[in-house]
């Protein structure tokens, strides 16, 4: 890269080696636990007992754990619920945020500042869990997917990011479209949205990760287990250690000895299954989040 990095003396080579190995150590620290879970989940179920937490190589090979997980009804329902909640939340979130951001980004809009303050207040002051619970109860949203979907359907932070982006749209472009006879909705649809594709993709990813990872609200608002997203199913099984939640996986009658070993492998598989969608879109996340954070984070 730059000239100041040229290696000259043995001491500097040693320094560089230490820096590289420190960073590689961090990489191992981050990735090894996940690779270990992967190895355990693909190991021969009979050989999981006594497998070291340090290994990243499966002991034998079997897809039994994954077969059990994927065929388990609680897991299937959880997966479908998660996908449904996340997709609806993301689409709704992007559309409503974009609409509001576009309007808020118009310079002459009367009341613009007041609405800005109105939104900022909600970032600084959150009255807490209980009032939120009562609102959801009052609206009849308990035990409904909507209690999750409507949570931060317009996220104040993302809204501000998008407003900043829309403010950069050249005035001339909008005036030209107005001269062509376009109404504000047409300008939004045909001018603003296409210009904001990358910003919208970023926001969409934000919403996706946010909703996919949400579990607390699902935990307090959804009593009906058939509506649980994957995170809550995982939590019940791994964090709460509730084996019963997963016993359906193995026939409960021969749920002894060898099957007991499966619990550790099942937990490993369950964790990986829950992060699979994040891993699938991780290259996109890196691309958009990194760029966004690099350029926008410190503008203040």
């Amino acid at each position: 890269m730059a000239a100041h990095n040229v290696r000259r003396t043995p001491l500097e080579r040693l320094e560089y080696a230490i820096i590289v190995s420190t960073l590689m150590f961090l990489v191992v620290l981050t990735v090894q636990p996940l690779l270990n879970l992967l190895a355990i989940s693909f190991s021969d179920p009979g050989k999981v007992a006594g497998m070291s937490g340090l290994t990243v190589i499966p002991n034998g090979f079997s897809t039994e754990v994954w077969d059990l997980l994927i065929n388990n009804s609680a897991v299937q329902r959880g997966l479908l619920n998660s996908i449904f909640i996340t997709l609806v939340s993301t689409v709704l979130g992007v559309v409503l945020t974009a609409l509001m951001a576009w309007a808020l980004s118009r310079p002459g809009l009367p009341g613009r500042r007041i609405i800005f303050v109105f939104v900022l207040v909600t970032i600084v002051f959150e009255p807490g869990i209980i009032p939120d619970y009562f609102i959801n109860k009052r609206l009849g949203l308990l035990d409904s997917y909507w209690s999750l979907i409507l949570f931060k359907v317009v996220n104040a932070w993302y809204l501000i990011i998008l407003v900043r982006f829309f403010e950069e749209v050249p005035k001339e472009l909008i005036e030209a479209s107005e001269l062509d006879g376009a109404n504000p909705f047409q300008i939004f649809w045909y001018v603003a949205l296409p210009l904001a594709k990358s910003a919208l993709a970023t926001i969409a990813l934000f919403y996706f990760v946010f909703h996919w990872n949400e579990f607390f609200r699902a935990m307090i608002y959804l009593n009906d287990q058939s509506k649980w997203p994957l995170q809550v199913v995982l939590r019940q099984f791994v964090v709460e250690g509730d084996k019963l939640a997963m016993v359906g996986v193995v026939d409960s009658n021969n749920y002894t000895g060898a099957s007991q070993i499966n619990i550790r492998a099942l937990k490993a598989g369950m964790i990986l299954l829950t992060i699979a969608p994040i891993l699938a879109i991780y290259p996109l996340i890196l691309k958009f989040f990194t760029k966004g954070t690099m350029s926008g984070a410190l503008k203040g």
Binding site: A2, A3, N5, E12, Y16, V20, T22, L23, L26, V27, T30, V31, P33, S52, G53, L54, T97, L99, M100, A103, R106, P110, F118, L120, T122, V124, F125, E126, P127, G128, I129, I130, P131, D132, Y133, F134, L150, F151, V153, V154, L159, P184, F185, W212, Q231, R235, V238, V239, R264, K267, I271, T274, I278, I285, L286, T290, T293, M294, A297, L298
Partner: protein
């Protein structure tokens, strides 16, 4: 509005404004309605902190009675102390790590190699606390977790970290580091990249070695960023993470890591003491708001940059 001919003019202006802008208000309407219902109604709803709830309304106004109950409860003080201890530990032990990681990353030549390291260490930031708790339960397991395998290798007794009152706070700090130190280094890296390259060239000519360049060019260059983020962190002081704590809690260690948020959740949604829980939540919200606003003002004064 004076009594001469101004009034009609203003009215005219207003109606013209409404005619011109109504489509934009219409676009904003769903978002605005959302903010009113899900952010402003709860503020109004929080009045139950000052009321005695009754099955058949109306509730009775009792003033600050619930706050008095709260402040005379030893558990509340314990919870407040836990919150402060955890936040302090995170600031002291978490805060410097991303800075160090960024300094190390900046020394790496070769874009592809650096990208590889970054893509690995950023990953945990995008995992939920449920998943991270699951990973930590596996890694720290006394019988077959990686950490105890290493401890065992040195011939020491295994430690049950997740159920050890002495270690659980460190588990929280370390899991926070595992989750976000890599990602947070991105902010500092951005600041380092913005430093004028000529400063490095000049230092080079003066014969500065790697450490001298870090000490006299890089670190001074990112001090404003460090200051801003430190103040921001201090402002979020009370926000010891509910999602984290709730997943790392169990009956054995609860007394050590029970924070205001988990306390509110427990006495509110689990025990049904809605008014008391709301009072605790409001206490935290007001204190938190004051700290964020103070942090914002301090940041503006010291670095010229606000928090938002």
């Amino acid at each position: 509005m004076s009594r001469n001919g101004n009034v009609p003019k203003i009215r005219q202006g207003l109606s013209k404004g409404v005619r011109q802008w109504w489509p934009y208000y219409l676009m904003m309407a769903p978002g605005l309605i959302f903010f009113v219902i899900f952010h402003y109604f709860p503020i109004w709803e929080a009045k139950i902190a000052f009321e005695q709830l009754r099955i058949i309304p109306p509730n009775i106004w009792v003033g600050i009675k619930h706050f008095q109950t709260l402040f005379s409860s030893p558990i509340f003080w314990q919870v407040l102390a836990n919150t402060l201890i955890l936040s302090t530990m995170k600031i002291v032990f978490f805060f410097p790590v991303p800075i160090i990681v960024a300094l190390l990353l900046n020394e790496i030549r070769g874009g592809a190699f650096r990208k590889f390291i970054q893509s690995a260490i950023y990953l945990p930031h995008f995992l939920s606390w449920v998943v991270i708790a699951g990973v930590f339960i596996a890694v720290l397991s006394p019988s077959d977790g990686a950490v105890n395998d290493i401890i065992g290798f040195f011939g020491m007794q295994p430690v049950s970290f997740m159920t050890d009152t002495g270690s659980i706070r460190w588990v929280l700090v370390f899991s926070e580091i595992w989750r976000s130190a890599g990602w947070d280094s991105l902010l500092y890296l951005a600041a380092i990249i913005a430093i004028d390259q000529e400063l490095y060239d000049a230092a080079e000519i003066d014969g500065a070695n790697r450490w001298q360049k870090i000490r006299y060019v890089t670190i001074p260059g990112i001090v404003p960023t460090i200051a801003t983020l430190f103040i921001l962190n201090a402002g979020m002081f009370l926000n010891a993470d509910l999602n984290q704590v709730i997943n790392f809690s169990n009956d054995v260690v609860r007394s050590k890591i029970d924070i205001i948020d988990t306390y509110v959740y427990r006495i509110g949604l689990q025990t049904g003491e809605y008014s008391l829980a709301t009072a605790a939540g409001l206490f935290k919200a007001v204190l938190g708001m004051l700290m964020i606003v103070a942090a914002h003002l301090l940041s503006k004064r010291l670095t010229g940059k606000g928090v938002w």
